[in-house]
């Protein structure tokens, strides 16, 4: 019987032991500069549990963010280092993203690594889309373009993709604010179009901006029935 008790004790203690991967901070913050195409950071974490943990895989909720850990196994108390790369592309503003590490520990099968991406806005277009409904009066609507970066910019050209609209634009604050006004010729046909806005930005990715316009059917209440 003592052997039986020992077996039970061993089983119970092993079931209680667990791994616990933890970050030293609530979230890893990434703050790229306006001109950055991608930003890389390293972060520290620890296995605060009392069991060795094996990392089985890493999956990012966003294809813009990838992460790697320096090892596949972490002993109890061991500190690890991770590397994360964020592809900035056209992201603007503050975004929360996650990378999920799957582990061999049933007590912590998934470890969620929390990232906060804070990308400064350099160009802000509000509203991004000018919208009319079929049968509406074909009146003018405007969007405001603001250049909020360190350096002022100028709009040098605007090109619409549809012939169904006319447009005009004026500078409200030199190098900082522009008002673009669009007027459809008719609102009889469904239309989805864009205005290609060309700027003189020194940063290539801000030289071409887009604002959209649409003429669509008025949505019926609860029109999009759930399958």
């Amino acid at each position: 019987m003592p052997a039986f008790r020992l077996i039970l004790l061993a089983l119970a203690s092993s079931a209680i032991a667990h791994a616990e991967l933890t970050l030293g901070v609530p979230a890893i913050e990434l703050k790229p500069k306006p001109e950055d195409e991608e930003v890389e950071t390293t972060f520290k974490f620890r296995n605060s549990g009392d069991k060795t943990v094996k990392i089985l895989g890493l999956e990012s909720a966003c294809s813009c963010l990838s992460a790697e850990l320096d090892k596949a196994e972490y002993r109890p108390g061991e500190e690890g280092t991770g590397t994360a790369i964020f592809k900035v592309s056209t992201f603007v503003g503050r975004h929360e993203k996650f990378v999920i590490a799957t582990t061999d520990d049933p007590k912590q099968p998934e470890w969620q690594i929390h990232f906060i991406l804070d990308v400064p806005a350099v160009v802000d277009i509000k509203p991004k889309t000018l919208q009319w409904f079929i049968g509406d009066e074909a009146g003018p609507k405007s969007c405001l373009v603001q250049f909020t970066g360190d350096e002022p910019m100028k709009i040098v050209q605007i090109t619409p993709t549809r012939e169904n609209v006319s447009f005009e634009w004026k500078e409200l604050k030199e190098g900082r604010e522009y008002l673009i006004t669009v007027t459809p010729k008719t609102t009889q046909d469904i239309t989805m179009g864009a205005l290609k806005i060309e700027t003189n930005s020194a940063i290539a990715k801000y030289r071409h901006q887009l604002a959209f316009f649409s003429i669509s059917r008025k949505p019926e209440p609860e029109a999009a029935a759930k399958p």
Partner: protein, 145 residues
Amino acid sequence: MRSSIRQALALLLLASAAAWATHAWHPRAPALYLIQEPLRDDEVSMQAIQERWMGDVLWIDARIQEHFDAGHVPGALLLNEQKFDEQLFGLLDTLQANTKPIIIYCNGAKCEASRHVLERLKQTLPVENAFVLKGGWQALQAAGK
């Protein structure tokens, strides 16, 4: 008689302990609470796509360019978070003429890219009948797409 019952109970206890330990130690032990998650409001399943629309939908691939190039649903359009405006610009004609339901997919059940693309698409253009595919690319592969 009592002895037999004790032995049976001991065997049962040992078997239960062994099963419990296996579950605790096994690297790929399923969670005991694991059940089929219900569809979210903006989601559809592969089964629903077949039953409701006979698979005749407009597919949008919300993964990165490299994954799209490596394989995608035939006819799917690339529209991801990275180059949203630029890619959407190229899809305006297709979306303007489209009358089919739009189904957006990303890598798998844990990726949120398809949902973010759906949100941005709805914010930018008046699209109707647009949904996220539950399970994403993994579900498509399982369905042999």
